[in-house]
């Protein structure tokens, strides 16, 4: 109890101390800005601050003032004078002017370089190529402009977890508009993408497992130049990460056939926002098979599909069996190191043979599954050896028992003899 009180009080004291320190620091910073910022002080006084204003906003942290964007004269205490158009006061930009408003600086590398030498300055140009940009130019006030995604007054760098455009926050940022079914109806767009995405492999990886390697919306659609990925480019989009799959697929005859028939590349079988972890029965001729959507019994593709699935399923089953054996060996405390390595190899083979499905060539798949089968069989064999070794350390035991038995019998007879002699 006493230690608790002690801890509590020290923490409180420490926090107070640190807070004081932090405030002092920000004070220093504001002092650094050369002029007195009357916009800020006055607007604070009359409690007329822009919505969502944050002191930690990247622009404010970089020392920019209200006037840096909105114009006017911050040194004047007279409202009239400070906000006179003669002093360059621009006021609140109209929605359709926002890209240009931000572009004043962000499209100017000479200016931006001062702050971040490596920064890109093509966002506005890109933006006008995007659907958002085109529509905005055409006078549609519903579409996203810069502030829709970045906010106006609490902007953070993209790597900052507080940012609306931080990777983990992107899906919900896009969803602010794209999840609005009312709004999306006007454009004939669905509004359940986030819902689908959250349940997909990518969504689970990103949102549940915080795997920052998993794609968010912008990784496929682009950000400033956001567009639906075109039919032809979709396999390139997926191929950015799933490179082998793309390479294999593009080399097949089927890729051409897909293109001719306006099929959607990867999406055709895997779907888009809701893409699930592929199952082995997606290939083959069963009811979950995608192949039979086009291929009928008897054609070459049908036969290939059947063969490929059979091969992979066989390897998968053998791999599972080997894994179970491995666990048993482990549990028994026998030597599992080598088996573990074999299983790692086998897993690699299984993954590769699944990737090779995209060649649609059973012969290529078989090369890997055969390797995999050999390795898993070896793992099973080794496990069996370990397990039987575990059960048959018995010969040595039998020999020892024999020796002990001889001792016991001899001793017993000796003792009996002694007793008899004593009685006699």
């Amino acid at each position: 109890m006493r230690t608790r009180v002690f801890y509590l009080s020290t923490t409180v004291l420490l926090t107070i101390f640190l807070f004081g320190f932090a405030f002092q620091k920000t004070d220093n910073k504001t002092k650094q800005t050369p002029k007195v910022d009357n916009c800020l002080s006055c607007h604070k006084d009359i409690d007329d601050m822009p919505q969502g204003y944050s002191d930690y906003d990247v622009h404010r942290q970089a020392g920019l003032t209200c006037a840096s964007c909105h114009g006017g004269d911050p040194s004047s205490t007279d409202q009239e004078a400070a906000m006179s158009p003669a002093k360059g006061y621009a006021g609140v930009p109209k929605r359709k002017d926002i890209p240009k408003f931000c572009g004043k600086c962000h499209s100017n590398i000479d200016y931006m370089r001062i702050y971040q030498p490596r920064i890109a300055t093509d966002q506005v140009t890109q933006y006008y190529t995007s659907m958002h940009g085109k529509k905005l130019m055409a006078g549609d006030e519903n579409v996203a402009e810069c502030a829709s995604c970045h906010t106006a007054h609490s902007i953070f760098p993209v790597k900052d977890p507080r940012a609306t455009v931080y990777k983990l926050n992107i899906p919900s940022t896009c969803n602010k508009c794209h999840g609005n079914s009312e709004l999306m109806k006007k454009y004939n767009l669905p509004s359940n993408q986030l819902e689908e995405y959250s349940k997909s492999v990518h969504g689970i990886a990103l949102l549940k497992q915080n795997d920052l390697g998993a794609p968010a919306c912008n990784d496929c659609h682009g950000n400033h130049g956001a567009m639906p990925p075109g039919i032809t480019s979709i396999s390139h989009v997926c191929g950015m990460c799933h490179s082998s799959n793309m390479e294999y697929f593009n080399a097949t005859k089927m890729a051409k056939a897909f293109a001719e028939q306006d099929f959607h590349g990867c999406e055709q079988c895997h779907g888009n926002h809701g893409v699930q972890k592929p199952t082995d029965d997606m290939v083959g001729v069963g009811k979950n098979s995608k192949c039979v959507d086009c291929h009928d019994k008897g054609d070459v593709g049908y036969v290939a599909a059947e063969k490929i699935e059979a091969e992979i399923v066989q390897l998968k089953n053998n791999y599972d069996a080997a894994t179970n054996k491995f666990l048993e060996v482990r549990e028994k405390g026998m030597n599992d190191v080598d088996i573990g390595f074999l299983l790692q190899d086998a897993k690699q083979n299984l993954i590769q043979s699944r990737t090779l499905v995209h060649t649609f060539d059973p012969a290529k798949v078989v090369v890997k599954t055969k390797d995999g089968m050999n390795i898993t069989n070896k793992a099973i064999m080794l496990s069996d050896k370990e397990i039987s070794e575990y059960y048959t350390r018995r010969n040595g035991f039998a020999a020892a028992t024999l020796a002990f038995l001889v001792i016991v019998i001899a001793l017993y007879l000796k003792i009996k003899d002694k007793e008899k002699r004593k009685q006699a």
């Binding site: 405390g333 599992d336 003792i415």
Partner: protein, 360 residues
């Protein structure tokens, strides 16, 4: 020839150190023979198992490495890589369990034959102390492989210590070497198991054996009442010793049989952040206490149930240790002596609680 060399060595030692006391002891010590003589062997078996523990323990020490990220690995190494490592480890684990079992059997046999009565009070007390230390041996050794089951069992076990008022919490922290069961606990238990306990244990065991040698074997009531010529004895050496030895060989064989056919699983490495696995339970000899604590309601009157249970077992243990000094008048009308009745009750209680612990 061998005999000659042997007797030469003995006589040369005798010349220098005078072995008369030893010789006297060997020649004159005798063991009564009667219906209940078997029980005389139980202490000997326990002693044998303790020796096995010492030897296998020393062997394990050659490869075992305490530490959060080496303990489990080294035990796994012992059972997989080291030749016969599995045997040594399994004999050590089995022998530990049999040791406790035989210590209990021995204790109750001594109890029911009333061997603890004057003049053997101290033999009983030292005996009880070594039993408690055997349990401590078991408890501290259980954690050493640093596997999941042991980790969580130790957590639960040390938590129980924490319920004792005033000293409970500090004691728990002391045992664990910190607030939680961590690598620090492991180091601590290791030290306790391989250094502290063996030293203390050996000391009390030596006292125990010394007392026995000084006083000779206890003769039960019915044997004492026999007429002098009907009393049968066998010399301790070599007759009783041979029988003792025979039994040890048998026990040893059973031990390696168990080690081979029913090895102790190593399980998975402990992970402090994993959720507790199913079926965490203490070693069987703690089961009766564990189960009784579980049966107690959360609150009895205004005291925590668990606390009451722990206190009860503490007091009961003390009383049991002091049994030689407890006198209850035996009325002639009673069929059984009250202490015997209590002993029977204790045995039944322990058996039932243990069985329930495994069934429920």
């Amino acid at each position: 020839m061998l005999k000659n060399i042997g007797s030469k060595i003995v006589s040369s030692i005798d010349e220098r150190y005078d072995l008369t006391p030893v010789r006297n002891l060997l020649q004159h010590k005798k063991v009564p023979e009667h219906r209940h003589s078997v029980w005389y062997y139980m202490g000997g078996v326990t002693l044998f198992l303790f020796i096995v523990q010492l030897l296998t323990g020393i062997l394990l020490l050659l490869y075992y490495r305490p530490g959060e990220d080496s303990a489990y690995e080294s035990v796994r190494f012992i059972v997989t890589e080291v030749k016969f490592g599995w045997l040594i480890r399994n004999v050590h684990s089995w022998s530990a369990n049999l040791l406790v079992l035989f210590a209990f059997v021995h204790m109750f046999s001594v109890f029911f034959s009333k061997a603890y009565q004057k003049p053997r009070e101290l033999t009983w007390i030292t005996g009880f102390i070594i039993l408690v230390f055997s349990l401590a041996f078991g408890f501290s050794g259980y954690l050493l492989p640093w596997n999941e089951l042991a980790f969580f069992a130790t957590k639960v076990g040390t938590d129980i210590v924490g319920v004792v008022p005033v000293i409970g919490q500090p004691l728990k922290v002391l045992l664990r070497g910190g607030e939680d069961v961590t690598g620090a606990t492991l180091s601590r238990f290791f030290g306790i198991h391989v250094a502290i306990l063996p030293a203390i244990f050996t000391f009390f065991l030596a006292l125990h054996l010394l007392f026995i040698q000084r006083q000779g074997m206890h003769e039960p009531e019915e044997f004492k009442n026999l007429p002098e010529e009907k009393k049968k004895y066998i010399p301790f050496f070599p007759d009783f010793a041979l029988k003792d030895f025979l039994l040890w060989v048998v026990v040893f064989n059973v031990l390696i049989f168990l080690a081979l056919y029913f090895p102790w699983e190593l399980g998975n490495k402990a992970d402090a952040f994993a959720s507790a696995p199913k079926g965490i339970r203490p070693e069987w000899y703690f089961m009766f206490m564990f189960q009784s604590l579980k049966f107690l309601p959360a609150h009895i009157l205004f005291i925590e149930g668990e606390l009451l249970g722990v206190l009860f077992f503490g007091v009961a243990g003390l009383v049991w240790m002091m049994v030689p000094y407890i006198k209850i008048k035996h009325r002639s009308g009673w069929k059984f002596q009250p202490l015997t009745l209590i002993g029977i009750f204790v045995v039944i209680f322990i058996v039932i609680m243990t069985v329930l612990g495994y069934l429920l």
